[in-house]
Amino acid sequence: MAGAGGGNSDVQWCFSQVKGAIDDDVAEADIISTVEFNHSGELLATGDKGGRVVIFQQEPESKNQPQCRGEYNVYSTFQSHEPEFDYLKSLEIEEKINKIRWLPQKNAAQFLLSTNDKTIKLWKISERDKRPEGYNLKEEDGRYRDLNTVTTLRVPVFKPMDLMVEASPRRVFSNAHTYHINSISVNSDCETYLSADDLRINLWNLEINDRSFNIVDIKPANMEELTEVITAAEFHPNQCNTFVYSSSKGTIRLCDMRASALCDKHAKQFEEPEDPNNRSFFSEIISSISDVKFSHSGRYMMTRDYLSVKIWDLNMESRPVETYQVHEYLRSKLCSLYENDCIFDKFECCWNGNDSVVMTGSYNNFFRMFDRGYRQDVTLEASRENSKPRSVLKPRKVSTGGKRKKDEISVDSLDFNKKILHTAWHPLDNIIAVATTNNLYIFQEKLN
């Protein structure tokens, strides 16, 4: 099986680029914590544990290499968040960027929201490629001319200069979250966005940073009665009144903001019934949803729990319409995965542009794609060994039984420190960005 993608089962994936240091000694600050394409796919943003954002821009396709889509090169990089210490609550606030979300482009500048555990920031990224020259009263270096020497009048002219990309923080949205922010989502109205922490969801206006509305609050009156937390939240892609949030108990609640100001009563609750006979110590932990994403069409949503990816039809709350096993072989390793904390890893998932394929990460730098139409899945690997330009990625396989075929890898040989938690799919083309611990891989569809 060659690959999975774009509804055409013959899609093959090739290595395109890899960003980041080669050395094995990974500094904590370099750990990639989020990856996101913008709405056109021209820009690709990454955030890391050190609070930095790096934005890559796709080069226009060159006539010399029509079989290859443009490469992504560094466009801008800036320090988005810094470490803080809240003395009042005795809380260390990490600068790690939890999420980046792009705003749809409205003018020449680009805008994105980036958030750490406590503060969301709106960044404006703008280009400057010309500057005024020939001032009447100033020298080129800025010194004012002696007025006695000014004998003629001249008007400054804009002359081209080397492209400068500037990032400036336009809004800082702070002090609205007691708990740790896990999600931000821009509304389709392009005026508002939501931010979600473990127990609450707030609604903001992008223009107003000193006020936000609480729209979901699941904090119990008595914290001893706490049974679940919010793990992710997202606005519907085209219904501006609808959003969903997932929980650590494996449920997803859909809320309609038209119903009431406080959306504690959900409009729909999506939950797969559990077989009580199969319940174990691990059941609730592995059912915790780590990511929820609407399809581009808005008809479906996808959830990721520890072992699987589920597709839900918004019209059916009783069970998912599709379930894909990411790494079912880990079910017999749950004891050690609990001991080394891997069972709490939060994997994300993403859709391709036309909602026909979904992708998510796994361990050993493996990532998985599931083609919904052709009912095919493939396991690929992000590694420097397969990093020759345009080399086709070979499907990988994990052997679960006793007999291990050649080229297969056994479950016990998997490296659980090499996790792919963050992946992103270009909104239009078959280009994917896959983040290993500290490297960013870009793969493209093989074009002939």
Binding site: I32, D48, G50, L226, N278, E322
Partner: protein, 116 residues
């Protein structure tokens, strides 16, 4: 007779017939649970409940409350009076840090290696 007879086929759906067989085989999850219980017999019965969640909510907390903070500060003050140690000892296990002791977490001025 319920309307659920035509169920959409999911990838890993177990049919009713297999349930009998499964009852006889211990599910991998249950055997993993047994393994865990033998290693940690004191593990509570409500794992996904309050304890785990509260630990998650308290991530990053250095002191339990202001009383804790003031006690720590007082302890350090008392300790410092008798022994005028010229060099600062390393902050390890039994020394509860005060804000003065916490290493100033300097923001990273180094550019990301992704941009290199």
């Amino acid at each position: 007779m319920s309307g659920d007879n035509e169920e959409p086929q999911t990838a890993e759906e177990t049919s009713v017939d297999e349930k009998g067989v499964q009852d006889k085989m211990i599910s991998p999850e249950k055997s993993e649970e047994a393994k865990l219980k033998t290693r940690y017999p004191n593990l509570g019965n409500k794992p996904g409940g309050s304890d785990l969640l509260r630990k998650r909510l308290q991530k990053g907390q250095k002191y339990f409350d202001s009383g804790d903070y003031n006690m720590a500060k007082a302890k350090i003050k008392n300790k410092q009076l008798p022994t005028a140690a010229p060099e600062k000892t390393e902050i390890t296990g039994d020394h509860i840090p005060t804000p003065q002791d916490l290493p100033q977490r300097k923001p990273s001025l180094v550019a990301s290696k992704l941009a290199g």
